[in-house]
């Protein structure tokens, strides 16, 4: 169930007035427009039971515009959260306990991601009917993310385009 944006208003001080969550995870500083991909990476889809708040294209001092995703209740592993770095290297993770931020960290680019990207190479063994999970090696090249297929060696510079729908 995805709450619509009316629950999110920008007040005078430019802070977000959003209904607070008691405990859960706030993913902040998501590149503008990527919130839905973040949900996909976390495997949150319509019909799931989590309470999820999304804000898209809200003003941000650091980024101009940003997206925010807030997930109530559900525990999300660090490994899963770090995959967000593929599409938003500057995202921050805020753990919320009793309405307060109890922990804050930047997502870290994982060296390897499994099962989250599909290889664009149609002749890659990962796109066959074999029992196989996609596997990519992740690296920064200059200021862009480069991912390389473990099996066929195909290099991708826009991982956003190849996130699987789960």
């Amino acid at each position: 169930m995805v709450a619509c944006n009316d629950s999110t208003k920008v007040d005078k001080s430019d802070r977000l007035a959003v209904s607070k969550i008691r405990c859960g995870t706030v993913i902040d500083h998501i590149n503008a427009g990527k919130a839905l991909l973040v949900l996909r990476i976390l495997g949150i889809k319509p019909g799931c039971s989590e309470r999820v708040l999304i804000a898209m294209n809200v003003p941000s001092k650091k980024m101009g515009k940003k997206d925010i995703v807030k997930v109530e209740g559900k525990y999300i592993s660090e490994k899963e959260l770090d995959r967000i770095a593929l599409i938003s290297p500057n995202a921050t993770i805020n753990l919320i306990e009793e309405y307060e931020v109890s922990e804050k960290r930047r997502v870290e680019l994982p060296p390897v991601v499994e099962g989250i990207l599909t290889c664009p190479n149609r002749n890659c063994i990962t796109n066959s009917r074999e029992p196989i999970k996609s596997r990519f090696h992740v690296k920064m090249e200059g200021n862009r993310v480069k991912v390389t297929c473990h099996y066929c060696g195909k290099k991708i510079y826009e991982p956003d385009r190849y996130i699987v729908s789960r």
């Binding site: 002749n123 890659c124 063994i125 074999e130 029992p131 196989i132 473990h150 099996y151 066929c152 060696g153």
Partner: protein, 304 residues
Amino acid sequence: MKFKHLISIDDLSKKDIEYILELAEKFLPVAQGKKRTTPLEGRLLANLFFEPSTRTRMSFEVAMKRLGGDVINMTAQEASSVAKGETLADTIKVVSKYADVIVLRHPLEGAARFAAENSDVPVVNAGDGAGQHPTQTLLDLYTIKKESKLENLKIALMGDLKYSRTVHSLIKALTLFNARIYLVSPPTLALPEDFLEEIKSRVRVEEVKLEDVIEEIDVLYVTRIQKERFPDEEEYFKVAGSYKVDAGILERAKSSLIVMHPLPRVDEIDISVDRTPHAKYFQQTFYGVPVRMAILHELLLGDL
């Protein structure tokens, strides 16, 4: 050596490569039938060819048998009927119980690395689609070492530099040996831009005309320009015709220049070249035997 399978030339360090080439040199008289040794007696190799390639399959078979081992073959025809009913993963799990080493040729890229994950025994990649074919690269390097020199080599690569995996793998390997690389190709079949960018920092490489470098190069490596790469026949004949080597152009070359080709050739090397001392392409194919002997020996008996 530190590896259990041979999947990609990129998995090998310079030291690994040098070690394999030295071992190949040791096995050369055995490959030539001048000496007998049977270290692989009682060992079984399974050739799994999901795509026909008689030359490569035979070369592995000869290498194994010259070292006293035995070979079972799954033909492309059998493979295709297997492929219909069974996954590669299952085929590998079954065959790796029968054999001591698996040699795999498969149409899909990455198939060999996946096979290795499902195998109890070493897997040798004998070509996975447009992907890797590391024993070809190793036999190319052995030929260069044997018939020319590996360090500080000046080499011209000519023909289809865009799609040829043979060329790409060889270039990567040559970056380890301080080579100077000249690229000779029609613009439509030039080395891919991102590949060129990737190697530029590691090796001196430039695009040239053959006439401009023929006097200084040590190796001329020719590859086939495939008809399928062109929209129409006329265009193909026009382009292919201007990337042909004949005895004429070689008159200006160093006497020590060697001409290589992964074979089969069509007409990019004129048969007039065969009679010159420059022609090494048949020798090159033969060198696949000692090189594969070295690899099989190492995978089966190395680090025991």
